[in-house]
Amino acid sequence: MKEREKSRRYSILGAFLSIFPFIIFLRMASIQVNPDIVRKMQEIGDAFTNPLLTLTPARGQIFDRRGNLLAGNRKVYEVGVELQDVENPTTIAQTVSALLGVDYEDALYVASLESSDSMVYSPLTNNVTEEEIEKLKVIIEQMGAVYTGKRDENTPSLNGLVFSPRLGRIYPEEALASNILGFVNRMGEGFYGVEGRFDSLLKGMSKVVRSSNDPNRAEEMPSVPDGASLVLTIDREIQRAMERIIDDAVAETSSDSGTLVVVNPRTGEVIAMATTPRMDLNQFWKVDEIFTNETPYNRAVSQSYEPGSVFKVLTMASGLDSGAVTPETVFVDTGAIEIGGTIIYNWNQVAWGPQDMQGCMQHSLNVCLAWISTQIGSDAFYQYLSGFGIGHVTGIDLDGEASGRLKEPGDNDWYAADLGTNAFGQGVAATPIQMAVSISAIANDGVMMAPQIVKSVVSEGYQHHIDQRVLGMPIKAETARILSEMLANSLETESSDALVTGYRIAGKTGTAEIPTPFGYTSNETNASFVGWGPVDDPRFLIYVWLEKPGTSQWGSVVAAPVFQRAAEELVVLLNLPPDAIRKKLARD
């Protein structure tokens, strides 16, 4: 071969080979100058060196008024699989099924998933406790030690099984005040009660930051303030006592359910709110098993019912305040009254003859109260009821409050007869908290305080106290005092089962028939009692409701003794001396 030809071939080969570095150079240049590619490459690089990190603040705690923790946090783990590392899905499924109670088929399905660009990890379960993780660690360690050497697809392996810590909710008091607290699900979302109502406040604000795996670029992590903590108005000891009392009452009277609300009429603070059923909040997933058939989570705020004769307190307050009647007004009870074409009878179908207003309340005369409503006049009567908050939500700090129903003149379904029936609590629906709040106006000299569950909010190092609000002043102070006296005298005269030795109590029983699609034809009733004391300086108001009691249909028989038991325990827990001692101590 001639030298020239040889040289030409070398030149061609050299030129050909130099194309590759040239292409590489072009590609490098295009990557460097093309903004889309630069951004994409940056993202890919950042994903490895500076991954995005979500800083989730600890959920705020919930305390009772004495500082006892009702809802806190604990370290729990999420267990999942890194799909590309899984060697034997069966071993993983068997282990998590036996140790953590995960369904075997579900676990096998998750562990058998193929990893892809869009999925490299899949969770198996969460809320796993530290103790369970310790057991899991031991098994992983033992399995790693036993199965060494040559491996195939049948070799038992827990490779790919990973767990990461996070904070989960815990309720140290378990079922106590469960209807007030609500719960937090696995996704960290609050449901019902305070957890539901103040979810965003308790949760706090998450922050997404870019962290660095490069130790040379280690920076201080930005701090994320914890979620706000709440101090409730309820007292743990009183709540516990009230729950025990209502549970016993439901069992003794064979009632469908029971509700007991304790409020401070002076401030509107809810001291206790006990309802049935309740559940252990640490097992929140059982909510559908416990609250079946549309059972409200908290009957005290979410279930309205026809309250019956306890409503007469509001009618009498309206009558006295409007001047339609005075305590000395005498009504001659003939046992029946016709209003709007409907004849209204007394509870025992008997004519009681001449009765003053205290007698009307003491004997719970429907006819008398219906007559009072006619004396007030429909416009004024419904204005008074609206002023007492009937038909309106109270605005209590709990999720799912119902407004009840008050039909008023002008509504399509209001009839003239409703004026008479509403006067004794029929044809009108209210929740227990509505009743307690409206009647608290009578205990508190005519001032109706807004019900309060959250006493203060602790956020970013400060405690913010929630101001008490006045909902309205539906009646005059004098009217309230007169009616309190009348109701206290009524209880004393009839030697009610609600009386508490040493304490002067005012109160009223209620027995309401339950409406059916065919009218008030059922023998089932709602038995209620509302009472407050001490009459000269009210410190508590207790509202009791027993739904469909089986042993007796009368509120005076089943609900009044529940009030008495509750009040007897309450005065001790509130450090409230008997009236005589209190007055003596005040004099000394």
Partner: protein
């Protein structure tokens, strides 16, 4: 004199001496580079180690926060009303019948108040500057401040 110059010239121009100079210079450069590289490596290794420590401590802080929350909840569980009641009964305590309660007037006794977990936001908090300016100002600012104070003190001294 000429003889001395000749010796100096021959010594200066000897090839092996020139080579020795080059090698010496090269080695000197190498030693300097090695020293700088050594110092750089040492510092960057320490910075990396500190960085690792920071990352480790950040993880530890995060873990301790979680442990702290868990411990608070564990304590609350131990002090829960059902546990406390059971422990009290085990110790022989019983509930006091209402008729056996004796009420006494204690001068100065303040009724049990609701819990205070943090300072009230209603209070006027006086925010005092706790850090002297020396910790935040630059050298120039410090010199300027000293000069200003000195001039001010002189002008005050004048009648």
């Amino acid at each position: 004199m000429d003889q001395l110059e000749n010796i100096a010239r021959s010594y200066f121009q000897a090839p092996w001496r020139k080579q020795l100079q080059i090698i010496a210079l090269f080695l000197l450069g190498l030693v300097i580079i090695a020293l700088v590289a050594g110092v750089y490596l040492s510092i960057s290794a320490r910075a990396t180690a500190v960085g690792r420590d920071i990352q480790k401590m950040q993880r530890e802080i995060s873990n301790l926060d979680k442990v702290n929350e868990s411990l608070q909840s564990d304590l609350a569980k131990i002090l829960s009303s059902s546990h406390m009641e059971a422990r009290a009964r085990t110790l022989g305590f019983i509930e006091t019948p209402p008729d056996q309660i004796v009420y006494l007037k204690v001068p100065g006794y303040v009724e049990r108040q609701s819990v205070i977990l943090a300072p009230s936001s209603d209070r006027n908090v006086v925010r005092a500057i706790s850090m002297p300016p020396e910790y935040t100002e630059s050298l120039f600012e410090w010199v300027y401040r000293q000069a200003r104070d000195w001039i001010a003190s002189i002008s005050e001294e004048k009648p």
